[in-house]
């Protein structure tokens, strides 16, 4: 338990030797930097495997629905992950959460629609696993940038930030996989481009939540006065 001290002493302790800090970039710039990371990854994927956005739309409603659902989920979950680490941005967080729910609903609708229309589809495990692997690889740049930005925010809400960050990055990677894969099998899109990558995202999110919780406990007020890690070096 923390030693009892007067609040006046604490104020004196906090203000004595106060270091200047560089404010966190605005939320919109954080989102822009994520978009840039995703676009750069897209360029690499385009050079490696090629991107086929027109083909994705031509393949029909299921393919288009998966693409829109993944795009919406990536944007909203990553925005939520960043907003959740900034005090006072609850409204942005709620809007992002709304987008996330909408996108998951869309993906679920695609799944339900396919159950009715596609009977006897063949399960290509190897093909699915290859695309899940690609999606995980493609999600790394967005995930790393988002992780860096989230780590600069306040160390709180570990579960929400961990899960939304990993899920958003997984969706961003899965979208690139969907745009680059030329398979015509709707069930492959669903398992290899949506369910598989998102399931991995949830698992990684659980690990991230645990790690964020550890850093939250390490930065807990009960550990006493610690300097803000974002404090600038004084000349």
């Amino acid at each position: 338990m923390r030693d009892r001290r007067s609040t006046a002493d604490l104020v004196a302790e906090l203000t004595g030797g106060l270091a200047p800090v560089r404010p966190l970039p605005a939320l919109r710039w954080q989102v822009v930097s994520l978009a840039v990371a995703w676009c750069l990854t897209g360029l690499v994927v385009a050079a490696w495997q090629g991107l086929h956005p027109a083909a994705v739309l031509d393949r029909g409603v299921s393919s288009t629905g998966i693409a829109i659902g993944l795009a919406l989920l990536a944007g909203s979950a990553l925005a939520a992950a960043l907003a959740t680490r900034i005090p006072g941005r609850e409204r942005a967080l709620l809007m992002a959460a709304g987008g996330g729910v909408l996108s998951l609903g869309l993906l679920l609708a695609v799944w339900i629609g396919m159950i009715g229309t596609t009977v006897g589809a063949i399960f290509h495990a190897a093909e699915d696993l290859r695309c899940v692997g690609h999606a995980s690889l493609f999600s790394a740049p967005s995930g790393l940038v988002a992780g860096f930005l989230a780590a600069r925010g306040v160390a709180w809400r570990p579960v929400t930030s961990g899960l939304t960050l990993a899920l958003g990055a997984a969706a961003a990677g899965a979208l690139l996989t969907h745009l680059s894969c030329q398979s015509e099998d709707a069930w492959h899109w669903l398992f290899g481009h949506a369910i598989g990558p998102l399931a991995i995202g949830v698992l990684v999110g659980a690990l991230l939540a645990w790690w964020f919780e550890r850093s939250r406990l390490a930065a807990s007020p009960s550990t006493g006065v610690q300097e803000n890690p974002n404090a600038l070096e004084l000349e």
């Binding site: 923390r2 009892r4 001290r5 609040t7 604490l10 104020v11 004196a12 906090l14 203000t15 004595g16 030797g17 106060l18 270091a19 200047p20 800090v21 560089r22 404010p23 966190l24 605005a26 680490r85 900034i86 005090p87 006072g88 941005r89 609850e90 409204r91 600069r152 925010g153 306040v154 160390a155 709180w156 809400r157 930065a219 007020p221 009960s222 006493g224 006065v225 610690q226 803000n228 974002n230 404090a231 004084l234």
Partner: protein, 203 residues
Amino acid sequence: MAGEDRQRDPLEVQRAGWMAAAQRGDAAAYETLLSSLLAPLRGFVFRRGVDDGNVEDVVQEILLLLHRARHTWRPERPFEPWLWAIARNATTDALRRQARQRRRMRDRGTDEMDLLPDGDLERGPVANPEERIADRELPAELREALAGLPDAQREAVLLLYVEQLSVAEAARRAGVSPNALKVRAHRGSRALRAALISEEDSR
């Protein structure tokens, strides 16, 4: 609308100015800011339901959290929602700890009553600070009816009608939009009226 209110609020402007200066390393501005926040923070923590004996600890936790998170506020953003979000988070954590402590003590019987803070020893471990505000200022019937309201409605009613804050200020403290606060206060006052009428009828 809320944004305009914030722009007009001189206290908000003043605190934002101190915080911006603190981010540049101005210790005097930071000390002025923190000192000016103590009374409103104590009121906030108390109103949320933290026991008397723990209020000062939670205020200190908020100050520490604010200190570590001071880089997350941007000068072009309003200061108050940022501040109250930090205060809400720290207070919620404290309330969870308090509830766990009470559960543990209930499970183990009354032998550990000595561990309770002084305020609780005086008033008993189940006393709610919001009821204590009401104890001092409101008639018994109203106090009883207030205790039966959901937390959010009770807070809105207390902020608007007991503390008599403006809608904008009360909304900032509660961390909701002015419209949401008005809705909560309206529902709360309607529920209060219904409770008081039914109390009257039962006599």
